[in-house]
Amino acid sequence: MPEFGSFCLLLALILTAYNFLVGGVALWGASPGGLRITAIPEARWNRLGETARRAGIASFVVLCCAAFALVWAAFTNDFSVEYIRAHSNIALNPAYKFAALWSGQEGSLLLWAFLLSAYGFVLRMRHRVDVRLSAFASVILAAVQVFFLLLLTIAATPFSIAPGAVAADGAGLNPLLQYPEMVIHPPMLYLGYVGFAVPFAFALGALMMRYPGEKWIHITRRWTMVTWLFLTCGIFMGAHWAYSVLGWGGYWGWDPVENASLMPWLTGTAFLHSVMMQEKRGMMKNWNVWLIFSTFMLTVLGTLLTRSGIISSVHAFAQSPIGAWFYTFIILVFLVCLITFLLRRDHLKSENKLESLVSRESSFLFNNMILLAACITVLWGTLFPLLSEAVTGSKVTMGAPYYNRVNIPIGLFLLFLTGLGPLLAWRSTTLRSIRRNFVLPAIFMVATALVLIIAGVRPWNDGDDMESTFFSLIAFTLAAGVITAIVEEFTRGASVVRTQTGKNLLSSMLLLTHRNTRRYGGYIIHFGIVVMFIGIAGGAFNRAAEMEMGYGDTLAIGPYRLVCQSITQDSKPEYDTDYAVLNVYRGNSYVTQLAPEKRTYFAGTDHEQSSTIVALHSRADADLYTVFEGRNPDSGRPIIKVFLNPLIAWIWIGVAIVVAGTFIALVPNLVRTPVRLRQGDSVAVPPAAALGATHVVARVPHA
């Protein structure tokens, strides 16, 4: 099987290189200002291009075989393959054996290449949407793919044979990765990372061929949204995994690897907003092109940071010196983007200019600037230790206190813009419309602030945590304003529909959303983001308690009492476990039973590795989070740490709302039903170009 896998990788490299080189030559040959050899008719160049496209499709099939070969080796415990020996063992759960595909560096690079080929496969199969632009995008994707396949065949080979005699058992999977979410989180994140290659390829292709109009944006809109959705889910699954497994009570530690996933998300979000400016007003073309270029480069940088180990991270699970390859690739991509931009920048002239500071356009511009500022800030913090070492000779730590201090004000400003932007009109907003749109949100904001202060959220009294309480108060207040603004938008639109159709308010809202899924799906996404902000702001009120517990001992935190029922040890094929059984009471009523656990993995490993299994009781108001920290070496009794984390569940609920909103935004708009025509009537007719957009209303002179 390893020989078959290696052969598949080599074959995929040949096919992809063919796709890139021959496809590139065919495009050049067929282009008006390119290698036009008069003796060769255009149809021949097109036929050559078609062979390149088919090679690209074949490379997907071959890479499927390569990925299958690695998974097969994991399932058959083929420890002659070094990668399998290092990341699997006989007793490993089959689901985690499958996950072994992406648990190490070589495997995750194979996953990158496989997902890229899958995206490329869909693109090449759907090439009729725009044959020439798709051909450009296909060649660019093939160029990216060649890099990853070269890496896989030369520097990070997943099928290399282990030296010496074949091991009886493998070293096993890192215990921290043996958690159900880790079977989904990395592929989700990679689907996000890799997916941004598609809009990047279309943008670069459109620029190279001086493609008129914004069609490339329409073609890639769904790609970008789906990719953004994958990245969002990947990031928050990672956060949920950290919360459930690492046992420190938090979900985001501003680790370099976490930062690496956040940066393309920030620029991708900015891109999703700013393309609307280009579609609607023909503005910000340079900006959009560079945003998608940067997003793609940041995804590659993210892979570099995760895999190369240039920056120390608690969860860079696979590290090796492949940095030089990535640096070279990033520099090459940047140079290609820069040169293409410089040669074609006259094609990106804006058609319109901003007319007012108080307009939807300027709110988008602010939103973009702030998202980009947040991204640069995170990048700066991530790379500062390297810079500091280069300048002063000593490394520094950029921990959570730094990022929180720097990013919270930026985050709050973004929250403010989330509410403000949709209330402003395109081009220019009148003072009257500002008053009409802002009065209700402002009233709700003031009311929320007052209620919270009365309820005890008073930064000036909170000596220990004045700063975080203050920011929370601001976040809750802004969230109230934004939610009011969103609800106002829905009810205002729905009441118009209700007047037109006579339906009730809920049906009118559904119809309104279906008529304009992108706009109202967007509002739902904003609502989800606000809910997430509320959950994050709740972190200011976290509490923790720790106690050495014996049978019958009670630990109190907030409204809860935890009574220790038993302390048990058990042995499983892969690990020994030590856990406490705690009965949870709220007041005098029994709530639930929690069993925080500490596992010590030994199967397949040279040394013991321990892992925390958190026991959690989650409610909308707060999570009760218990951790078995270990046993006191002197008394032998377990030490239990308990966190009371308010509003954490809101973060996960917010993510679910964001997912729902994105799905709604992906649904095509409800098309107006054609009506029987009389002379001069309006009628819904399909657009000439298959833009996947709403139908236009045209006037016909005669039926």
């Binding site: 200019k353 300027s362 000596g463 004045m466 992108r518």
Partner: protein, 176 residues
């Protein structure tokens, strides 16, 4: 009834909104100025990393059997009891464990760049956006003045009418 009319009138007055903004700003400043800082132990404990290699904040390090956190917490208590200032306490830890023991770069000198750059980016981004909008608005007005057209109708010079019509149509069809 009369006061309601007055309130309605004042809602339309720019002076009312300017005063409301002033009061809001004053409230914010007051809130920021009020209150004591964090307790020293808690604050300083969150500005230090555990030296065991777990990459956790000292007071959040959660492994039992951690060879370092208990000792470091003891050292922190001792430093606080000795009457040293916050800076002196942090300097003491830095001298003993190296610069990476500090959770954020606060030693001055080049470390200041870590703080200045994000603030500068944030300010530049905000001011830059204002500047861009102002510049574009001025250009748009100038274009409208010379060509007798609104910015919205202006077509770039290199676009032929066919392309302009095509773009216009695409935009119409993607109206949302």
């Amino acid at each position: 009834m009369r006061s309601l009319t007055q309130l309605r009138r004042s809602l339309h007055s720019p002076i009312f909104w300017a005063r409301t903004l002033q009061i809001a700003l004053l409230c914010v400043v007051t809130v920021v100025m009020l209150g004591a800082g964090k307790s020293r132990y808690d604050r300083l404990g969150h500005e230090l990393m555990c030296s065991c290699g777990c990459a956790q904040i000292l007071l959040e390090c959660n492994h039992v059997g951690c060879p370092d956190s208990a000792r470091m917490i003891g050292e922190l208590h001792a430093q606080l009891d000795s009457g040293n200032s916050d800076t002196q306490v942090l300097q003491w830890f830095e001298a003993k464990y190296g610069a990476t023991i500090l959770a954020a770069p606060i030693r001055g000198g080049f470390d200041n760049a870590a703080w200045i750059v994000p603030a500068a980016i944030f300010i530049l981004a905000t001011l830059g956006t204002f500047g861009i909008v102002w510049l574009w608005k001025r250009r748009s007005l100038a274009l409208a003045g010379t060509a007798g057209l609104g910015g919205d109708l202006a077509v770039p010079g290199d676009l032929n009418p066919q392309d302009a019509a095509l773009r216009d149509r695409i935009r119409r069809e993607t109206e949302y």
